[in-house]
């Protein structure tokens, strides 16, 4: 038969997938995958170099003339400064154990999203220019180099770096499977830092970082609006519970400072979690004289500086501690956030030490949070789990009976800081229907929401959906098997990203923070009989007369 087959017909219309090796497949920057370039004003505001207009899909990126030199110098400096990077560059044996563990590879099918290849982007240049072998191979010509996995840093290579380093959410899942413990997230962090040296950031990172530096939070919301928002939540809480809560702001001499990502204050469904914090603090204040203040200046727990450079991360992180110092509190309680905790857990010892604060002790149970001895910052789920364990919260879990809940481990809190049991313990205490997703996609092996590390922009929606697929696929499974209708998590980026991911992949499932569920169950002293949950949805059995 000489007639073309259907596949041939289709392939005639469209180009075939590339069958060339990765080094010879040139990068094509695609719509839906890349994020817009940073606004020069934002780059300038935080004092980063080479602010300018540039467009990723244009040929000319308006690079500084000596960009190569800058990158080489930066690379050298970082190899000397971070021993981990030097080791990660040297010891990969290309065994491939990490290759199929990245949610972006799994969802996109793009082989350059295999962690080993992502790292190889930088490693190939490292081999070429920073090792003796690379120089010797170079002596024999280009093809020899390629066999050794070395290549020159050209403009195309640089573009490939940029494109694929912003398709890594720094989630560290790959590192769990690497027999040598190579952490590709660290390589991405370093690679992005190098790109920032020549002004190549994305705007979804640059502008929140600049806003945070100036106003104290990602959205650039000013202190009075922050307070207005919490006042409004207090009205809502009063409607639902009959109790007026009265949070305090910027109060000097308070025992504890509370800091949470601004997403909890300004974006649904985090707002319900924020109401949850307010109710919890009110409860503790009424029953045990708990003494805590919010700050309208340290109004952001998140840290987009972390996705820019170590220095920017440190600057944004410092403002939280500066506020703690100004107010004279003893320690900091932190809300439900992901990368805020990675920064605290992983970098506070080099950022700090905040020795003007005290080792955190729960004023209610007397528990010493020894794990927070050096950071002086306690995670809200550690704090709540301790309260529940000591029987300090009055809970009615049936008020969550309308929900069938599963739990998403955020990469940063699970892999980044080992917070695995506390959230589960709380969940089991505040709701009766909790179902785990399959073992190979939770706890240390959790899948990223698909939008971490500053990638939750709008223009790269296809990328986010690709990366979100493995997580959503597991949610879909528990939805179909157990009728799960609520996905809980303890990260503000998750609450934003998963909501969108669910809308595309599993629209029957909604997203919640953990503290929202706690507050649903929490019995406030003197409250009226609750008819709705925090979202003003009727509680089971309270659907009203017209439900009949």
């Amino acid at each position: 038969m000489s007639d073309p087959t259907p596949e041939e017909l289709l392939l005639g219309i469209d180009p075939k997938p590339p069958q060339t090796g990765w080094m010879d497949t040139p990068v094509e920057i695609k719509k839906g995958i890349y994020c817009y370039a940073s606004n020069p004003k934002s780059v300038e505001y935080v004092g980063l170099p080479y602010p300018r207009q540039w467009n990723p899909i244009e040929e000319d990126w308006n690079l500084p003339e000596n960009w190569k030199e800058i990158i080489y110098k930066g690379f050298r400096e970082r190899l000397d400064r971070f021993r981990s990077i030097k080791v990660f560059m040297d010891i990969c044996v290309r065994c491939g154990a990490c290759a199929d563990k990245c949610h972006f590879f799994i969802g996109s099918g793009d082989p350059k999203n295999m962690p080993v290849l992502r790292a190889e982007l930088l490693r190939s240049v490292y081999r070429n220019d920073f090792t003796a072998a690379g120089k010797i191979l170079g002596f024999f010509g280009k093809n020899f180099k390629k066999i050794g996995g070395a290549r020159e840093l050209t403009l195309d290579v640089l573009k490939e770096w940029w494109y694929y380093l912003f398709q890594c959410s720094e989630c560290r899942r790959c590192s769990v499977f690497c027999p040598y413990g190579i952490d590709t997230a660290e390589i991405t962090i370093m690679g992005r830092e190098l790109l920032n040296l020549i002004g190549l950031n994305i705007d979804w990172i640059a502008t929140p970082a600049a806003n945070c530096y100036r106003t104290g939070n990602h959205l650039g919301i000013q202190p009075h609006a922050y307070k207005d928002m919490l006042d409004f939540f207090a009205d809502d809480i009063e409607d639902i519970t009959g109790i007026r809560v009265d949070p305090s702001f910027n109060r000097k001499g308070a025992e504890i400072l509370f800091i949470t990502p601004s997403g909890d204050v300004f974006a649904d469904p985090g707002t319900f979690t924020c109401m949850g914090y307010m109710m919890l603090f009110h409860f503790l204040q009424e029953k045990y004289g708990f003494d805590i203040t919010w700050s309208t200046y340290a109004s952001e727990g998140g840290n987009f500086g972390f996705f820019t450079s170590h220095e920017t991360m440190k600057r944004l992180n410092t403002k939280m501690y500066a506020e703690a110092k100004r107010l004279g509190v003893k320690w900091i309680l932190g809300g439900e956030c992901g990368h805020m905790w990675r920064v605290i857990h992983q970098y506070m010892d080099t950022n700090g030490p905040p020795d003007f604060l005290e080792e955190p002790v729960s004023p209610i149970t007397g528990t010493k949070f020894e794990n927070a001895r050096s950071t002086k910052m306690v995670h809200i789920t550690e704090f709540m789990a301790d309260l529940i364990k000591h029987g300090k919260l009055d809970l009615d879990p049936t008020r969550n009976d309308h929900l069938k809940v599963t739990y998403h481990d955020s990469c940063n809190t699970s892999r980044g800081m080992g917070l695995l049991e506390e959230p589960r313990y709380i969940l089991k205490s505040v709701c009766n229907n909790f179902y785990e997703m399959p073992a190979n996609c939770i706890r240390e092996q959790t899948f990223c929401c698909g939008s971490g590390s500053g990638l939750n922009a709008g223009e790269n929606m296809e990328l986010r959906m690709q990366g979100g697929l493995p997580r959503a696929n597991a949610v879909k499974y528990v939805h179909e098997k157990h009728d799960v209708n609520m996905l809980s998590c303890i990260c503000a980026i998750d609450r934003a990203a998963l909501l969108t991911s669910m809308e595309y992949w599993v629209p029957e499932v909604d997203v919640t923070g953990l503290t929202e569920l706690v507050a649903n169950a929490l019995i406030l002293p003197g409250e009226k009989e609750r008819e709705t949950d925090l979202r003003s949805e009727p509680l089971p059995g309270m659907e009203g007369d017209d439900a009949e």
Partner: protein, 188 residues
Amino acid sequence: MRLNNLLSQKKAAITKKWFALVIKTYPSETAKFLKSQKDPFANPVGRTIYRELEALFAELLKGIDYETITSSLDPIIRIRAVQNFSPSQATGFIFFLKNVIRESLHKEILEEQIINELLLFESKIDELSLIAFNLYMQCREKIYELKANEMKNRTFRAFERAGLVSEIPEVEPDLKPIINIKEASNDS
């Protein structure tokens, strides 16, 4: 219904071949993974495609119930609609089935009864492709909707609930200047 019997007998082989062709639309390194990793949570793309192709073929043998077909086609299209495919690549894998069937029946195909039944069966495949096209469009529209509304839905809604958004007042503002313009244009 001789064709149906033949196809039913070869069901497993046909699905496998169809799957192999669909997997070939991915780069070779990826294709290897999609084929070999059998855990549905480690390999949602490969396993979803396999599972749903199997269901689709079984459904085609029965008849063509729109709901069932959609529930099997949707997961595959939903994935391919966000991957690196043009619209024809994302949906065109359905036609691969024609070729797989023709090849696996290359002897029987010469019989008159079979050829007639096959033509009918192939038009069912065509129908499938039209459903796939609808689903693909729905997925793409959803993506654009998410792009356009994500920020607005989350942040704007929160501010609006809090009454921090100043809305256009209910009372009509003084309309005089507009009337003036109207008059002016009427005059000319």
